[in-house]
Symmetry: C2
Subunit: 272 residues, 2 copies
Amino acid sequence: MKPTLGVLAGGGALPAAVAAAARAQGRAVFLLAFEGQTDPEALVGFPHAWLRLGQMAEAFSHLRAAGVEEVCMIGPMRRPSFAELRPDRRAAQALARIGWRAFGDDGLLSAVVREIEAEGFRVIGAEDVLGGLLAPAGPIGRRRPSPQDDIDIARGVEVLRVLGAADIGQAVIVEHGVVLGVEAIEGTDGLIARCAGLRREAGGGVVVKIAKPGQERRVGLPTIGTRTVAAAAAAGFAGIAIEARRALVVDAAAVARAADASGVFVVGIVVR
Amino acid sequence: MKPTLGVLAGGGALPAAVAAAARAQGRAVFLLAFEGQTDPEALVGFPHAWLRLGQMAEAFSHLRAAGVEEVCMIGPMRRPSFAELRPDRRAAQALARIGWRAFGDDGLLSAVVREIEAEGFRVIGAEDVLGGLLAPAGPIGRRRPSPQDDIDIARGVEVLRVLGAADIGQAVIVEHGVVLGVEAIEGTDGLIARCAGLRREAGGGVVVKIAKPGQERRVGLPTIGTRTVAAAAAAGFAGIAIEARRALVVDAAAVARAADASGVFVVGIVVR
């Protein structure tokens, strides 16, 4: 039998989905919930403990006490302020080691993975538990990108490749060749909402979201779900392009239904 | 005597300042104002004509009829929608030639400069008329960046160098090592306003604005003024760093006063 799975729960419903899937596979699960990050509803029915993000020693004690050997970090984490973080001695040590890279997305996540592994845990991806999360190549739902959308997607990919080197965001919005917005700390939903007012034409604009070059495969993969589709539709954009086989789609069937109902496309693109 | 100066007037007060300075130097001036871009107040007292951005042939006729030989493009231009642009035959020809690059900032501006020069006009920078606009190295006003601000400025420069290759924006906001926002089409004031809500700490955060690598020297230089200072202060950021000798400061004395009055720093940094 597989060892107890520790779920380090970020925001949204995905941590609960991972925990439920692990339990359905006959595994025991234990969730670590983080103040200001985890949705309390995601914890219902699962053994769990609440911590501040900076309580690293406490986190490892909880995982060991629960018999955890494998850990899955899943769900978006908002960047805490230093005051919110209040690092304990173990976390301060980790921060000192991580140094500058703590401030890039991927640099931070990779470093956190190494810290967890240094404590003797294995880190696995949500895909390893849930399966079927990775975006397929091609359309999800009935709509397809127009030729102009394809051009905008190509421009978005080009821009994101350059951005990836700076380790900032994973998403851009491109409308008829013009980059309306670039994601940083506001997250993809925030990006979509703020770019709604920057559109110049009716009916155009594509949200493009791909993994960074050298992206850690197990944590921080670009993720979309029905909420992303609803946001894009509300903002009047034509659709969403995500990286096939490297982005996660939470409940692809529901995403396809939402896309069809709201008239936007969702497409998995192969990035070379 | 110098030939008539044609001012292609973007938004704000800078076109009027350039026109007034040229007139004070004994030059005749003629302003081209663009619908939805030029501030009508900038035209008061100067001979001018209103056009759509897409009326390129008309623009060249006006300039020739006014005896213009030198042209200065100054003031921010909002990206028009294709519908607003309605390119005439000459503009359509230019767009076809510019092609893809029309959608990057600097690619577009450089291409527009070449189109204007192909018609026999010389393109000059606002600095050539006004003088004293280029940011000095060092503080403007009394405040200086803290050691943490200096670290944030360095991170901002690093990120902007990478972004420059994608030809998108010229500004980022960095707070305690974290990139809060990256400028795209919303402009620097828009960036500052939207990032106010993303700050995590009190008293930190720096707006960093530098020219792109390979930036056309005569058009599209990064520019700040008292409005930028007011926006940064209202958003609670610590200060503004601009590239010494490649960014424009509109009315440095007023910027220094505004910075001192609101407690933010403004500093010219040397980017290597």
